[in-house]
């Protein structure tokens, strides 16, 4: 069975890779299997983990036992019926005549994510980031706990340069994204500096994307030449 498994995995892998030569029946077959298996996988997993795991065991909680062997049963959570009802309304989208009712669960999802993201993004991606940008540029004035004196402590050159780059980069990048004012004069020059920082960001992202894609390919090559053919020492 293990031999069959490895060969099936290898043939399906080669089928997908064959697309690099040109579109062909072997690739189309592998792709169709992938589409069907993926849809089925998520169908099953979400049933057992979400619908059964959350809804069914919440509304009909199973018997549990404590260390002494006594039965403890949690109280059913009938509010979960609302979730199930919303879920079923979602499926009404498949029936054109009453598909409009699927807006209710959709509104619920949109409302939930809006409410959660509003606070999370405001706090973590805005306030904390602004806080992280406002840093000592050249040095600090710590107070000596024994003498009570405040003495200037210069930062290492590496940190000074880095902090200045961060400040200039974040500020000019934000200026670039401000499209309500025409990018002219000093404002335009600042936006231009912002573009340079953004180009560095995109270049670094491209480099890391190449790294990531190559890593995935390396993983498949390891399977084909190592696990399947046993050629890798």
């Amino acid at each position: 069975m293990e031999h069959l498994a490895v060969w099936i995995a290898a043939l399906l892998t080669l089928g997908i890779i064959s697309f690099l030569y040109k579109d062909n029946a072997w690739y189309k077959l592998s792709e169709a299997i992938f589409v069907g298996i993926s849809a089925g996988y998520w169908f099953v997993v979400l049933f057992w983990d979400n619908v059964h795991g959350k809804f069914w065991t919440g509304v009909f909680p199973p018997e549990q036992y404590d260390a002494a062997g006594n039965v403890i049963t949690e109280a059913p959570d009938y509010m979960l019926w609302v979730g199930a009802a919303l879920g079923i309304l979602m499926l009404m989208r498949l029936i054109p005549k009453i598909g409009w009712i699927s807006r209710w669960p959709l509104a619920f999802i949109v409302g939930s994510t809006s409410g959660l993201y509003l606070i999370n993004y405001f706090s973590s991606n805005m306030m904390r980031q602004v806080q992280g940008t406002i840093m000592p540029l050249f040095g600090m004035w710590p107070t000596d706990p024994t003498t009570g004196e405040t003495v200037f402590q210069a930062l290492p050159t590496y940190d000074i340069v880095g902090n200045v780059v961060i400040l200039v980069g974040v500020f000019s990048g934000l200026v670039y994204f401000f499209f309500s004012k025409e990018h002219r004069g000093v404002f335009g020059a600042t936006a231009k500096v912002g573009i340079f920082f953004l180009m560095v960001t995109f270049g670094a992202s491209f480099g890391y994307t190449v790294m990531s894609r190559m890593s995935l390919l390396i993983g498949r090559v390891d399977f084909l030449f190592g696990t399947w053919l046993g050629l890798i020492k």
């Binding site: 690099l20 069907g36 619920f108």
Partner: protein, 215 residues
């Protein structure tokens, strides 16, 4: 009422999630728990909607003998081949040794991994054909990419081993990632956060209604 009720739902749910952050006590903590559970259940049904829609489209393709209808049969058969043991296996459906886990390990995993892996080839080909240093901005992008691609692998230090410590490619790549790249990413992050906060507020207050569709 077809639009008013969804707007009301969006507003109430969104407001509860905002308020529970500041008042993590009853009743907001309880409502937060309810809404979180409902979200998980509704999300499952949303994926089911997609899967059932796929089956509907495939069946229509087969019935109408449209182009590549044979592959639609393969899609449906593959779907059933994993769904039947998945439901039939009970709660232990994915334990080691089950047919579901076998399909997951030897069919689903190789296929999904390879689908992502072939992107490596397209990235290289697209770079060769389209990545041109036409102007200063594109050149800057290219140079940053080179720094990172060479600096993050050992060959970068091999090529710049003669440079003093702190000036080799790995050090320069690290500096680029930690400072100018981080600054650009932060600017993008703050910009997105601002946009997201304003859009979320508009949705919760009912000003933004595009998610409700037409009619």
């Amino acid at each position: 009422m077809r639009r008013e009720i969804p707007l009301l739902i969006t507003g109430i749910v969104g407001a509860v999630f905002v308020l529970q952050y500041f008042i993590p006590h009853w009743p907001f903590s309880k409502m937060n728990a309810w809404f979180s559970d409902w979200f998980s259940i509704v999300a499952a049904f949303a994926i089911w909607l997609g899967a059932l829609n796929l089956m509907k489209i495939s069946l229509q393709k087969i019935a109408g003998r449209k182009e590549d209808w044979g592959y639609a049969i393969v899609i449906i058969v593959s779907f059933l081949v994993i769904v039947i043991p998945g439901f039939g296996g009970g709660q232990g459906y994915r334990e080691a040794g089950t047919f579901f886990s076998w399909l997951y390990e030897w069919v689903y995993t190789p296929l999904s991994s390879t689908m992502f892996a072939i992107l490596a080839f397209f990235v290289a080909s697209a770079s060769y054909r389209a990545f041109r240093a036409r102007n200063l901005e594109a050149t800057l992008l290219l140079v940053a990419a080179f720094f990172v691609m060479l600096g993050r692998v050992p060959v970068g230090d091999l090529l710049t081993g003669f440079m003093p410590t702190g000036w080799q490619l790995s050090d320069l790549a690290g500096w680029v990632m930690n400072f100018p790249q981080a600054a650009g990413q932060r600017a993008i992050m703050i910009g997105i956060a601002l946009g997201l906060v304003s859009t979320s507020l508009r949705i919760i207050l009912g000003i933004e209604r595009s998610h409700l569709g037409g009619e």
